[in-house]
């Protein structure tokens, strides 16, 4: 199959950026979207041009490196997938595909489709942990976790930190990302000691990084590659209120 790409090219964070058209003429439906970009890039290098830069690594949907807006959708069409898990069989022969980086004030563009998501690490630094030091912890079975709680905590912990929730949100909010971590640790007994400080500090850092607030569009849940539910945002709000009272 053949497709036409309209790809955002931007030399560095100071460059204005622009769309550039590329023809991908030998596309197999079994290729992943990133493999299709690989083929386009081989062509560009052979012509002496600079290949399209994009973040990627594991290519199996778990490292959270890849992420781009494809036809206005975070990680492209389909649900529950990262960009690396999108296959060209999701497109039709002759399609025009628009490819852009995540756009958010807190995610400055580094080059082309690569953005700086270190703001998410700084939110984690503000409190996304239990302060358990190496050694000096009880036996694993000394802390009982009811299965439903373990399952609910896992659902939240599955977040891969890709930033799709931020990219698709009209307010560029990182609420789902923050909620996932706060929720995981507020459900588990291990997270209780620092429960209040954690939610307050992580939210304060989120605001400082210039992420917006939540206005309940639920777009984040729809685009999350791990299907993390907005009910964790509900729990985040509950935790914040609880901490303030």
């Amino acid at each position: 199959m053949k497709v036409t790409l309209k790809v955002w090219r931007q030399k560095d964070k100071n460059d204005e950026g622009r769309f550039v058209d590329y023809a991908a003429d030998e596309v197999s439906p079994d290729m992943s979207f990133l493999e299709m970009l690989d083929v386009v890039n081989v062509g560009l290098v052979k012509k002496g041009e600079i290949p399209i830069a994009f973040d990627h690594d594991c290519r199996e949907g778990i490292c959270g490196s890849c992420g781009m807006m494809i036809n206005g959708r975070a990680h492209g069409p389909g649900r529950g997938i990262a960009t690396c898990q999108l296959h060209m069989r999701s497109f039709q022969d002759g399609d025009e595909i628009v490819v852009e980086p995540w756009r958010a004030q807190a995610f400055p563009v580094i080059k082309d489709l690569m953005v700086d998501r270190t703001a998410l690490d700084r939110i984690m630094q503000a409190g996304g942990y239990t302060s358990a030091k190496t050694g000096g912890v009880p036996d694993g079975n000394a802390i009982l976790v009811p299965k439903p709680a373990a399952d609910e905590a896992f659902d939240a912990a599955a977040c891969i930190g890709c930033g799709a929730c931020v990219a698709i949100c009209p307010n560029s909010s990182a609420m789902l990302f923050v909620a996932a971590k706060v929720s995981q640790l507020s459900i588990l007994p291990q997270g209780q000691a620092e429960r209040e400080a954690r939610v307050e500090n992580m939210i304060a850092q989120m605001d400082e990084e210039l992420f917006g607030g939540c206005s309940n569009t639920y777009a984040c849940e729809a685009e999350c590659p791990k299907g993390i539910s907005v009910r964790h945002i509900g729990r985040l709000n509950h935790e914040l209120l609880r901490a303030k009272l």
């Binding site: 030399k11 079994d30 081989v42 490292c63 009811p146 912990a157 291990q190």
Partner: protein, 637 residues
């Protein structure tokens, strides 16, 4: 130079505790005066950086990723072993030790493996305390499952995303230390050289991938936790950026390379779909707990799997290995799959696949239970192949997955360069010739949380450190040689891309230095590899320059190193005239086609010393002694 493994004296079960007592300590007030560099922040790197930070050292941690959470440890699916004996099925530290030594086909050090088994229980406790959501039963206790190569249920898991959850645990501990100021994390930096001053590892040169600047960092000790080299084969289950450059450059500075030929092929990966394939996806081998592997009894049978009746299917692992069945170790399962396909029984369009069938498990347990156990793996399979494994069997084929070889380290995890420690997959230490499932996460975290923090402290306390500056001639020399290599790569301006070379090189490695190796094939590889390397330096095409973010230039340096390492892998495979674990030489097999070891001649660790670009590497041998687990012919029948 003689290899000293520094294995402590005394009975096996007392070695580590006695050694811990003998090791010197650094006064808490003095720790912050010592800087330690940690390169790589996956499981081993993040856990050691966080633990050293907690102890009070000044830690500089480096990653070529934007965040430690991107490291490839994140992709480990199945689980992590620990002999907690929560299942009451007869497990013990000794049994895990024994299984690991046996699984590694008697090519690992007893003392290291015993220590690994001994500390593994603490890892589970540590991860639970961090909030890792391990699977639980309805009473709230930790759940276990069984895994290949073991007859007890000792594997802890978090659905099919155990690596992710353990890495996020270590990452959160690292983020906590970063916030506390004891660890400084440097993102998007790639280590390109190790700096050795007066015989001690005293720093690194890292390239800032965003602007191409070379940066020098000094320290009193350097820790490499940079993962394995499976991408030497181009197609592997490793992440795209996983590479051997940091380890290889340390090798060139004097760190011996141990057992490079031990590369593990994983039996349950999704088959290649075409030339565009950029990497392979592994399906956790926990699938073999409930999935049954089969091929049609009739060669070239093109019927749909559901149209092939039971009596026309060959469940060959169950037939050949009645007691272990589908749970034989990885190397055995991989070779049998290759045999079946080589003999023409393979399925799918390419004929390079076998079926992994869940129909009987779904019938027995119900779809819900199977979905709970493997839901994300089934989704992943469906996403990639557009086939539904709840309805039709999966197609699987072996792929390069893990490298047991790596930089040689002594019992303290220190390389042959004093002050250079190597952890996790980057070292050669604990898996012998073959790694059992759910042992990689265990080793990475054992090294990082519970071994290296002690042994590095001992090194710091036992040595004197003169002040060094990043302006020292050793740093300048290293920077200049990196700049020369980069300039040379950029000046070639040939006609073939880095990926094209890598793919071609990987094919040679897979064909001649892959699953079944022969003297002839290896010799052939050793004549072809230098030629393709020469081609590379004459014809590679890299666009862009050295002062920008340049992904092609990053790849080119890694591939150049792979092409040197690949040759060493072939040399090592050629000298090891036996089959053991994942290293299978066609000439050395039993009548049943099993690996035939030669303990008299090859019960040693091969440690290679780099002697310069034009010289042959020199082989050193560390002989292995087995006082507890007596070598026997592995049998899983």
């Amino acid at each position: 130079m003689a290899l000293e493994s520094k294995i402590p004296e005394g009975p096996l079960e007392q070695k580590w505790s006695k050694h811990k007592f003998k090791m010197k300590l650094v006064n808490p007030a003095n720790r912050r005066k010592h800087t330690i560099i940690v390169v790589g922040t996956g499981l081993a790197g993040a856990s050691v950086a966080a633990s050293l930070g907690e102890l009070g050292y000044h830690v500089l941690a480096f990653s070529y990723h934007e965040s430690p959470r991107r490291a490839h440890s994140i992709a480990a699916q199945g689980g992590i072993n620990a002999p907690k004996n929560y299942s009451n099925d007869g497990d013990s530290v000794y049994r895990l030790f024994y299984d690991t030594i046996k699984g590694g086909d008697y090519r690992a050090r007893e003392a290291n493996v015993y220590r690994l088994a001994e500390v593994s229980g603490c890892i589970i406790d540590q991860c639970v305390a961090q909030g890792v959501p391990f699977a639980r039963d309805y009473a709230g206790y930790l759940d276990n499952r069984s895994f290949g190569g073991a007859q007890v249920a000792r594997t802890f898991y978090a659905r099919g995303q155990t690596g992710q959850q353990l890495l996020l645990g270590a990452y959160s501990a690292l983020m906590r230390q970063t916030h506390a100021g004891s660890v400084k994390f440097f993102d998007r930096r790639e280590m390109l050289d190790l700096v050795v001053i007066k015989g001690q590892a005293r720093g690194i040169i890292a390239r800032n991938l965003l602007n191409g600047k070379l940066e020098s960092y000094t320290a009193d000790a350097v820790v490499l936790a940079t993962g394995g080299y499976g991408n030497v084969y181009y197609l592997s289950t490793n992440a795209k950026a996983s590479n051997a450059t940091a380890a290889w450059r340390a090798h060139k500075r004097g760190a011996f390379f141990g057992n490079p030929c031990y590369t593990q092929i994983h039996p349950t990966c999704i088959p290649v779909s075409g030339d565009h394939q950029s990497k392979l996806t592994l399906m956790s081998e926990s699938l073999r707990n409930d999935g049954r592997i089969w091929v049609p009894k009739q060669k070239g049978d093109k019927r749909k799997p559901k149209d092939i009746p039971e009596n026309e299917r060959d469940y060959y692992l169950e037939r050949l290995y009645p007691s272990f069945g589908n749970l034989v170790p990885r190397d055995v399962a991989s070779r049998r799959a290759k045999d079946m396909c080589d003999e023409g029984f393979g399925v799918g369009a390419s004929g390079l696949a076998v079926y992994l069938d869940f129909a009987s498990a779904i019938q027995r347990l119900g779809k819900d239970i199977i979905e709970q156990r493997y839901g994300n793996l089934f989704d992943m399979y469906k996403q990639i192949t557009a086939e539904n494994p709840y309805e039709a069997p999966m197609r699987i084929y072996p792929a390069v997955h893990y490298t047991m070889g790596g930089l040689w380290v002594d019992y303290n995890l220190m390389s042959t360069i004093p002050g250079l420690f190597v952890l996790g997959e980057a070292n050669f230490s604990d898996h012998g010739a073959n790694r059992l499932g759910a042992s990689a996460l265990m080793q990475g975290l054992a090294d990082g949380y519970f071994i290296a923090p002690y042994t590095i402290s001992d090194y710091i306390a036992s040595n004197k450190f003169e002040a060094v500056s990043a302006d020292a001639p050793e740093f300048k020399e290293a920077e200049n040689s990196i700049t020369a290599v980069i300039n040379k790569l950029l000046s070639v301006n040939g006609d073939k891309t880095v990926d094209e070379f890598h793919r071609e090189f990987g094919k040679i490695m897979w064909d001649y230095v892959g699953m079944g190796r022969t003297k002839e094939g290896l010799k052939k590889a050793l004549t072809v590899i230098p030629k393709i390397r020469e081609e590379f330096w004459k014809h590679v095409k890299i666009t862009g320059n050295a002062h920008d973010l340049n992904t092609e230039l990053e790849k080119a340096q890694r591939v150049a190193d792979f092409m040197e390492l690949g040759e060493l892998i072939a040399m090592d495979a050629l000298q090891r005239e036996e089959s053991c674990g994942a290293h299978f030489r066609e000439e050395y097999q039993t009548a049943d086609g099993e690996a035939l070891r030669n303990d008299k001649k090859f019960s040693y660790v091969a440690a290679w010393e780099y002697k310069g670009a034009k010289q042959k590497q020199v082989l050193h041998k560390e002989s292995l002694k087995f006082e507890y687990a007596k070598p026997s012919q592995r049998s899983y029948k």
